[in-house]
Symmetry: C2
DNA sequence: TGTTTTTTGGACCCTCGGGTCTAGTTTTCG
DNA sequence: CGAAAACTAGACCCGAGGGTCCAAAAAACA
């Protein structure tokens, strides 16, 4: 965030963040401030006017993008049939996770895990952990309503999350895949939901 | 690998690789050659006698460690009951993947995915991909024998792999967890195998 | 033992990149 | 319009690190 409330151009601050996210995604943590400045069509000094250092710039960037991760985690509506709710949850997850942009960011967090463990932890808790917790709560609710038979909701949630995202996400992180098409997403989501229901149905 | 067959000390080459793997795991791709030399109790020049550059050193290191990834992927024996075979497969996978050393290496590959895509691809194909392929073949065999009802073995294998490794691996990559204890591994493996059998049983 | 090769440690070169400084221009606002 | 604050372009400082060089010590080998 801009350090002073004076006449600083807020829009430039945003442009810098946008450029930073681009360049860092492409080049990793070792991206240079010069290239970020060039991409943002801004002088290097201006970056230092807005964010005091490279570390602060990255922190600001993470703060802003954590919201993007957290957003698509909304729980499936409790009124649907559990199978459809699970499939819809899976679709949301796949769309959010298995694409080049999300993977580039995730790679960034992983890269920083050693130097800035608190950042990585925050991302983990705002992302996967929160997501699984909501899913677990949903599973517990459905079990109480007699529509599912889940004895350990937390573990079941991890299983389902892993089924859906596991391999695809790893291959994306290694840069092997080119993302999934919408029909592929539909198919995986539907199939995962169907199998999960067989495994945990009443 | 050592470049000349002369009087070069082969053991030193190994010591260098060992040190390199340690330091790179801790510090990431940006680890300095000086620290590797220090850790290997060797002069920097000696490293350059054995491996021409930092890139070559890392390539040699990856070559040697790919074997370690591939090793523990042996398929469960076909004579066991499928549930026990799956549980054993899951245990092997968890032990191999969810520990600080393996995660540090995987982080390295992910970090290099942008600069050296071929390396990342090789790791992926020698590791997860080969593992899933063997599991899929096993599932197909068991289905042919009438002990399972798997219509799409490749997808089922990804589901099982994801269930077992998915979340735990991601949290390790982000440096959040401290690995799993042996009883935890047993429990997860057994439960995953049990649920998978309910989902895909005859 | 003498020759050849390797190893060592440390100085050294050079590039890259974070961060600062400056001088001049543009913007904002009273 | 005039003053204060921001912005720009680019030079600049400095530390880090890849890679090379060198003279002396240590092995290896015949």
């Amino acid at each position: 965030m801009p350090r002073i409330a004076g006449q600083i151009d807020l829009a430039k601050g945003e442009a810098i963040l946008d450029a930073a996210i681009q360049v860092l995604s492409e080049r990793g943590l070792s991206a240079s401030m010069e290239e970020i400045a060039r991409r943002a069509r801004v002088s290097k000094q201006t970056i230092y006017n807005h964010y005091g250092s490279k570390a602060e710039l990255i922190a600001a960037l993470v703060d802003r993008r954590v919201a993007d991760i957290t957003a698509p985690l909304e729980m499936p509506g409790a009124d649907e049939h559990p199978e459809e709710a699970l499939a819809s949850y899976a679709r949301i997850m796949l769309r959010a996770l298995v694409n080049p942009r999300a993977s580039a960011l995730m790679r960034l967090y992983i890269q920083g895990a050693t130097e800035a463990p608190d950042v990585a932890r925050a991302v983990f808790e705002a992302g996967p952990k929160a997501s699984r917790a909501r899913l677990a709560a949903f599973l517990a609710r459905e079990t109480a309503a007699g529509r599912l038979a889940v004895d350990d909701p937390a573990q079941a949630a991890e299983f389902f999350g892993g089924m859906v995202a596991g391999t695809y996400q790893l291959s994306e992180l290694l840069g092997v895949d080119r993302g999934l098409t919408e029909p592929q997403i539909d198919h995986i989501a539907a199939e995962a939901a169907r199998r999960f229901l067989r495994a945990y149905g009443v």
